[in-house]
Symmetry: C2
Subunit: 427 residues, 2 copies
Amino acid sequence: MKAYKSMSKEELSALKAELSAAYEDAKGKGLKLNMARGLPSAEQLDMEADFFNTLNPKSEFHSEAGVDCRNYGELIGITEARRLMGDMMGVSPDNVIIFGNSSLNIMYDTVARSMIHGVCGSTPWCKLDKVKFLCPVPGYDRHFAITEQFGIEMINIPMTENGPDMDLVEKYVNSDPAVKGIWCVPKYANPSGVTYSDETVRRFANLKPAAEDFRIYWDNAYIIHHLYNGVEEELLEILGECEKAGNPDMVYEFCSTSKVTFPGSGVAAIASSKTNLDFIRKIITIQTIGHDKLNQLRHVRYFKNLDGMKNHMKKHAEIVRPKFDLVLSTLEKELSEAKIGTWTNPHGGYFVSFNSLDGCAAKIVSMCKEAGVTLTGAGATYPYKKDPNDSNIRIAPTFPPISELAQALEVFVLCVKLASVEKLLEA
Amino acid sequence: MKAYKSMSKEELSALKAELSAAYEDAKGKGLKLNMARGLPSAEQLDMEADFFNTLNPKSEFHSEAGVDCRNYGELIGITEARRLMGDMMGVSPDNVIIFGNSSLNIMYDTVARSMIHGVCGSTPWCKLDKVKFLCPVPGYDRHFAITEQFGIEMINIPMTENGPDMDLVEKYVNSDPAVKGIWCVPKYANPSGVTYSDETVRRFANLKPAAEDFRIYWDNAYIIHHLYNGVEEELLEILGECEKAGNPDMVYEFCSTSKVTFPGSGVAAIASSKTNLDFIRKIITIQTIGHDKLNQLRHVRYFKNLDGMKNHMKKHAEIVRPKFDLVLSTLEKELSEAKIGTWTNPHGGYFVSFNSLDGCAAKIVSMCKEAGVTLTGAGATYPYKKDPNDSNIRIAPTFPPISELAQALEVFVLCVKLASVEKLLEA
């Protein structure tokens, strides 16, 4: 096979005929496969069965501080849960508040709180004419959906192999007081798989924001989610870096066990400075009496400590890694010589980020859908769902069993080929 | 003993000396007792031990609709949980969304949502100069804390034996477009124990609000929480009444299993019209991917159905009722002839509402505290913590073991007597 771009019209037309026939065949199979979202597979969830023995009728339900976890109280979470999640993030339990089951919900509420109550005494954002967030792209669609719902203007920041383009970040943050935040997935980023370099983290910590209420929204969703495929990437701990840089209050870090134990039934937490946490506590003490301490207790008793969690994640990696390997080997085998796409080779997280020829992504996704393979919507990795190049597609290989994944990838590469040929014929 | 008010100064002075000596004795005992909040006792929580066997490693984790409850999804809750909570409220599962562990959190978020996004298309409240809520008094301090935090002006509405003074409610709601809500605990009200009469519910349903975005915040916290002490009060189902009256969208109903299974680890829900729920769903789909479905499943599997819940609540009543009996018999024995207080005799809920002579409540609470007995703060049952008569005290007898409750009540009646005598001597 040779690069599609070097083919003549005749060669492309012949190829198109061949691919079209294969595509019609694929459509005829009545497939129903899903690579859309970063969901753990049933096999990963089955592995957690023992979790359900963690609390039983004979359990001691008091926390180490003597709190009956079956009753009201402990707004900020039991100490041992704050310690476990703090260890996960590399910060002190004093810098941690445990919330409910969803870090996304914490992020949403953090933005909502800023809209209504401001940030540690600043003007509530709903009283301002304009609020802006920086959005590294490609990025996580649910982040962008939050800022969009609150009417916050989103500004694209291109991702590099070291994280967001920090020249641009510094330019915006340090000059524009309407810029109140930036969405970051700093480790095994969604979808690019990039882990921010030490220099990137330090440049973040040394920002000189024009807005006193600017905060970094540091969504550390994949903090211990290595694939164990050669390199375990490490991320510099940002709270300490911010403190060193004289910006102790500049970051909110979020994490959860959604992809450690169970999505929807995990434990989520925020880490930040005492000043930020004091303000948050003052607001949330009116919002709730407390979160689910029995579930906090389940997690602490099940894992015991960070090592317990890490060992557990190695088992997850055993299940997940072959799926990534299959994605990468299929793309390599089917697309590399044709030169009709580029893709990432992540060492952790839940995604492979694929870039087609410009102007092909929406078409590929819709062709896949018609053949029974659901992908993340084209454009989803950009604010307002607008991918300026119509090129990025997020591949989420974890959920389907490997046999189904193979079928889905077969359809995917076929659609990439066909869409690329059609694009080149148009030119 | 005779009525304090009919005593001479000399008699009162002699009584004061006697009571003061007893009070000094009480202080010397170093008690540490708590009747402040409506907490279930350890005995009630122990009863739930089997709950922890409900899900085990061999459980089927799929919902009846085939959803794997261990994974993401089902934003509005699994069908069987919506059915269970719907049955509790007497409404269709189609009118129910399940949230997390706290109905208070749902109420807070409902107000927050209205502040930022308005109500089904109305102007966001944060854009208005003035928003007002009606607050039946005495009422629930955490309701008032929510509206206070959002800067919403609160208007006291006196409670009668049939519920809030509906003449006043109609006057405000039907004439003032700034009135956007009313806080109600319609059954076994906190703290009065009143269940709203059928006529009250119908008058609510037939309001003609000046504001299109007026809603009734119907906090049905004690919906199946009978004491089984003679009468099981029934409350007219309000969604149906509102629909009949041509006001289908006028009510948000809230409930939870916080005092059925575990405070902090229960399941909470909202019931409302399709129009309201569609709007809420559109907003919360950005806030979270879903709530804890495993905990929903635990509840459904544990209780099976509404009858299972009701039978369970009868066992709770066995534990709780003797505590209420002790409160009532102590107050009767110690205070009725002296005529220095009135109190309620509830058939359900978690509180006895006590009214001292005017101007004594704060003093009684602080004297109790000095003697080691913590009560709900005086004034807490009123907006802005301002009880205009300084008279209402909420007694929460459920948490302490009965022997401790007896000691606490002994201190309480002593403080009521001493504060009353001092008040009468001032006059």
